[in-house]
Amino acid sequence: MDDDIILNEVATRVVPMICLFGVYIIFNGHLSPGGGFAGGTVIGVAMVLFSLVFGLRATFAMVPENLLILLTSLGPLWYAVTGLVGVFRGVGFLANANAGINLGAPGSLFSAGLIPVITFGVGISVAITVTILFVILVEAD
């Protein structure tokens, strides 16, 4: 597939844009429609497009397979460790405002306490899941 000029050029320009849009959706999850699941899916789809156009070899050159497998557990781990903040503050697991965290001004990027942090973990988890499912299924074929 390396010889298709149109496909290569379009993918080279589109994949970074899709990734950027996914990051935007993730980090605006507490301000506008979106969030970890939607943004993570967008990033995962960008990775699927990349591996469709440039092949599995180029994908693994960018993100090694072992790293991908390792990153699978990062999302839930990030989420659970963030939940421990409430435990160390003396209130319940996954507490946000009750843990005494400053919620900030509603509508600004750094607001809503731990919600953007958790959204980041969910986004990582979903993006890695979409990527690894596609990559492993293609590889096993």
Binding site: G29, Y79, F93, N96, A97, A112, I118, T119
Partner: protein
């Protein structure tokens, strides 16, 4: 045990599982009914989500603050699915002394 006997065993099991579900469905409000017993949570979320979670997106405020446990388990569902696919499709290179006799892809 013959398959026929297994089916006889399955019948009480289905009844035990299905009866509580049907009882739950029976207590659900009819569609469109304004019953305060089932609506106070929605009203509380609509009125207090912004001040209690700080998120202008109320949906995010609900799923990541009020229902954070639910979303955590949802994330582990994704994790479990990935691990299942990896276990089923990814062959681990075996050591030389392994006598299990299984072939593996290089």
């Amino acid at each position: 045990m013959k398959p026929r006997h297994l089916m006889l065993l399955a019948l009480p099991l289905v009844l035990v599982i299905a009866l509580p579900m049907l009882m739950v469905v029976a207590t659900m409000p009819t569609y469109g009914e304004v019953n305060p017993t089932f609506n106070y949570v929605i009203e509380h979320y609509n009125a207090h989500a912004l001040e209690e979670t700080g998120a202008t997106n109320v949906v995010t405020g609900i799923i990541l603050d009020y229902r954070a446990y639910d979303t955590l388990i949802e994330t582990t569902v994704l994790f479990t699915g990935t691990i299942g696919v990896l276990l089923a499709l990814k062959s681990v290179p075996r050591r030389r002394g392994d006598l299990s006799g299984r072939r593996h892809n290089p």
